[in-house]
Symmetry: C2
DNA sequence: CGCTCTGTTGAGAAGACTCAATGCCTGTGG
DNA sequence: CCACAGGCATTGAGTCTTCTCAACAGAGCG
C-alpha cells in the first residue's frame, strides 16, 4: 500500500505526470517527513542531498549575507516542489513556517528516476519556468518599489493566494476581502526587503487611510481593493 | 547545408544535447536573426510567440512599472537560451545591448520539438534551474545590500564573466584584473537597482580608495581583489 | 499576575535619490 | 583641422525615505 494513494497533493504535485505504476516506483524511493515550525530541511550552501514535494504547510526559501541579513527568496505551498535536482549545492535554506509534511527523495535517486521519466521532467521544467517568472517579477518589487508599494503589493498577493485556499477549506476565515496572515511582521519584512518597523508603519498608515483594517495582528480586511491596487503600482 | 555546422555555440547551447540528425531537424524550424543594439526581440506582456538561442552578443531581460521605472532581471550571453517556452505570455522584454545574432524558433514549433526530445528538455531544465539560482542570489543583493556592496559585487561578477570570454577571444582586453565594461552607467544602475549618480559615486569612491582604477569610462582595473571581495560582503 | 514574545510608535541618523551644473569624449560639419 | 553639438559621466547640494535605536503596548501563557 502506497502512501501516495492517500496523498493530498497526488493530482496537483509533479506526481500528476505519472501513472499508477510509476507512482509506485517513485513512492518506493521516497519517504514522508514532518517538520515543526522553524525546523529546516536544507541549509544554504549544503551539498544538495535531497529534494521533496510539499504535502502540507508552508515553507520559506532564504538566503543571507555573512553578517546576518536575511532575504526570503520564495515561499512554497502544498504541491510545490523543493530542493535542487541536477546540481551539486543548494543556493538557499528551506525552513518550515508552519507545521509541515513533505515527501522526501534522495537527490541522486530522484535524478535517476527523473531521467527515466520525461513526463516528470517536463512537469518540473514548466514549474521551474513559472517560478523563474515569479521570481523576476519580485525583483522589480525589491529594487524599485517604495515601502508603501511593497506592502500594498504584498497584501494583494496574499489576498489572492488565500482566497484560493479558502474555497478548498471553507473555514470562512479567508474570503475575498478578509484573510489571516500566515506571517509574522519580521517574515513580511524579510519577504519585502524591509525592516519590521517599516512594515508596521506602512500597515498602520493604510489602516489610517481607511484602505485596510487590522482587527487583530494576524488578520487583514481589505476595505478598498481599488485604492490598494492603485498604491501597489 | 545547415547553419548549425558553422554555429559558434553549437557545442555549448542547448543544442549540444542533440545528435546531428536531430540538429538538422531543429535547424529546419529555426532561422537566424540579427539585432541592432537597442532593438527588442520580445516585449513584456506579449504573447510568447518565439524563443531563441543567443549566438553572439549580449541581451538584457527587463521588466518595469507603469510609471517607467525599469529593472534588468537578467543579462544573457552567447549560448544562453531566451524566451518563454510552454507558457502563454512573456514576463519580460528582451533587448539587445550589443549587436547580436540569435537563432529564433516559433514557440509552438519549439514546444513540439522539445516534447519529442527529452534530452533537449533536460538540458533546458538544468539551465533554467541554474538561472533560478542566479536570480535568487541577485534578490539578496537588490534588497539587502548597500550601494557600495552592490557595485563591488557587480565588478567582481563582471571580472569573472569576462575573464572567461578573454580566454576564447584572446584579444588581451580582458585579463584577470582588467576588463572593458559592456554596460553604460545607466544599465549598471538598472541591473543593481540604483540611480546612475549613485553608481558613479561608488565607482569614484572605490577608485579614490585605490581598490580599482578607471583608465577610461568603459575600462576597469581591479587593483585589490581581496578588498573588493571584502566590500562585496 | 508577571513574563515573554510580537508588534507599534517615536526621534534621530544615514543612505540613496532628485535636481542642477559641469566636464569629457565622439563624431560631424564647416 | 578645429569648433561645436549631443550623449554619457561626474560632482555637488539639498531632500526624502528608510533604517537604527529605544521605549512602550498588547496578547498569550505559565
Amino acid at each position: 500500500m502506497s502512501y501516495c494513494d492517500t496523498c493530498l497533493v497526488r493530482n496537483s504535485a509533479i506526481c500528476a505526470a505519472l501513472d499508477s505504476n510509476e507512482i509506485e516506483a517513485l513512492n518506493s524511493i521516497g519517504r514522508r517527513r514532518h517538520l515543526e515550525p522553524g525546523e529546516s530541511l536544507v541549509w544554504e550552501g549544503d551539498q544538495s542531498v535531497l529534494v521533496a514535494n510539499v504535502i502540507e504547510g508552508m515553507l520559506k526559501l532564504t538566503t543571507g549575507t555573512e553578517d546576518g541579513r536575511e532575504q526570503i527568496v520564495g515561499v512554497v505551498y502544498p504541491a510545490d516542489f523543493i530542493g535542487r535536482p541536477f546540481g551539486a549545492t543548494t543556493s538557499h535554506s528551506i525552513t518550515a513556517l508552519t507545521s509541515a509534511h513533505v515527501c522526501v527523495f534522495g537527490r541522486a535517486d530522484f535524478d535517476r528516476f527523473a531521467a527515466e521519466h520525461p513526463a516528470l521532467e517536463h512537469k518540473l521544467l514548466t514549474r521551474t519556468l513559472e517560478e523563474l517568472d515569479r521570481t523576476r517579477k519580485w525583483m522589480l518589487l525589491l529594487s524599485r518599489k517604495t515601502a508603501e508599494e511593497k506592502v500594498a503589493t504584498f497584501l494583494l498577493e496574499m489576498a489572492e493566494r488565500l482566497a484560493n485556499t479558502a474555497c478548498e477549506h471553507s473555514d470562512g476565515k479567508n474570503s475575498a476581502g478578509h484573510f489571516e496572515l500566515p506571517f509574522t511582521r519580521q517574515q513580511i519584512g524579510d519577504i519585502l526587503g524591509l525592516t519590521i518597523e517599516t512594515v508596521s508603519r506602512q500597515m498602520t498608515q493604510l489602516r489610517r487611510d481607511g484602505i485596510i483594517d487590522l482587527p487583530t495582528r494576524r488578520e487583514v480586511t481589505i476595505r478598498d481593493h481599488g485604492a490598494l491596487e492603485a498604491i501597489a503600482g
